[in-house]
């Protein structure tokens, strides 16, 4: 699977790695829903590190779409909320 970290690029990850990281993704989401800023930053950093460690950079000159997309490392909770909202900050 291809995972993109916004602002960083794409990584190739095995399905096993993805399912292992799903728990971390859920933690990030829980923190967003709880509006818990500290937990959010911690969980996001752990998740992104997990992707970087388990993944290998995807070919720079490929035109493949990502299967999963993650926020940038320095995203704020509010920004990610906006991203999850359809009218969010992702420019058309």
């Amino acid at each position: 699977m291809i995972v993109r970290i916004l602002g960083e690029g794409q990584y190739d990850l095995s399905d096993d790695a993805i399912s292992a990281l799903n728990d971390l993704d859920a933690k990030v989401e829980a923190a967003i829903e709880a509006g818990d800023d500290a937990a959010f930053h911690g969980a996001l950093a752990t998740l992104l590190d997990g992707v970087r460690t388990a993944g290998v950079p995807h070919d720079a000159d490929s035109l493949d779409s990502s299967d999963l997309i993650l926020p940038m490392a320095d995203a704020s909770l509010a920004e990610v909320r906006d991203m999850l909202d359809d009218d969010g900050l992702i420019p058309g």
Binding site: R4, G7, G9, A26, A60, M72, V80, D86
Partner: protein
């Protein structure tokens, strides 16, 4: 649905909405390629803008650092002439500047970070745009309009995602730079208006310098007086130099000369 699935779905639908569909789908390739080149130019400008802001902050750091060094020098000078009050005043003003310098250095580091991010974004987009250009030519050469659609969709969604990502990076860098520029502008105005100088050197700051100067001129006056008084004595035709030397430099000179 998990967070990363939701973000990728939303991202994809935005990218798709942004596509202009031409009657011959192969024309959309050219149109999209043009937009990619525009975006690439925009990232390059973004990198240059952030670099300009960073340099401006660097310049301010240097200016304020110069003022802080000057105050430090004044404090040392004041201590040599046993004016602890003046030294204290100089150091107090310096500590105000030190805070400001630290703040500016933080901004400088942030701008540096944004600059690096945008430079990397530019490299990534550049690689994809080049790949798209090659793919575009292949598609146009080997497929009929009807056959081309799937290939085009693949290429477009891949590049669309990258463009969305880079677009966000530019926007974020611009937002951050704009905030910092407002603050940098305020500091430039302060420097220009002399309000900061007030804190450090020219006007209020100079009162330290003035006082130090007046002390040395006082001792010169004393020396002159002593010379004049001595002048009434027969032996004192040229003795003033010695007394002047001694009097003007008294405590200060003895400390400066310590190391020798």
């Amino acid at each position: 649905m998990s967070m990363w699935q939701r973000i990728s779905l939303i991202f994809r639908s935005k990218a798709n909405k942004a596509l202009d569909r031409a009657e011959d789908p192969r024309e959309t390739l050219d149109y999209s390629y043009q937009r990619q080149l525009d975006l690439l130019a925009q990232v390059r400008r973004g990198v240059a803008d952030v670099a300009t802001s960073r340099k401006r902050v660097e310049l301010q750091v240097n200016q304020l650092q110069g003022q802080a060094d000057k105050l430090q020098g004044q404090a040392e000078q004041a201590i040599k002439v046993s004016r602890e009050d003046l030294a204290r005043e100089a150091l107090t003003r310096k500590s105000g500047l030190t805070q400001q310098i630290a703040d500016l250095k933080t901004q400088q580091a942030q701008l540096q970070g944004e600059e690096e991010k945008l430079t990397l974004a530019q490299q990534r987009l550049s690689a994809k745009v080049e790949a798209f250009r090659t793919r575009k030519e292949t598609i146009k050469a080997t497929y009929t309009a009807a056959e081309a659609q799937t290939k085009i969709n693949e290429a477009m969604s891949g590049i669309g995602e990258e463009m969305g990502d880079v677009g966000m990076a530019i926007q974020r860098a611009e937002d951050k730079t704009a905030q910092m520029q407002a603050r940098a502008g305020a500091i430039d105005e302060l420097i220009a208006s002399g309000a900061l100088d007030d804190q450090s050197q020219l006007n209020r700051g100079d009162d330290i310098a003035r006082e130090l100067e007046s002390m040395s001129s006082q001792s010169e006056v004393e020396a002159e007086l002593a010379r004049l008084k001595g002048g009434s004595a027969p032996a004192a035709i040229e003795p003033g130099g010695d007394i002047l030397e001694e009097e003007t430099k008294t405590p200060a000179a003895s400390e400066t000369q310590d190391p020798t």
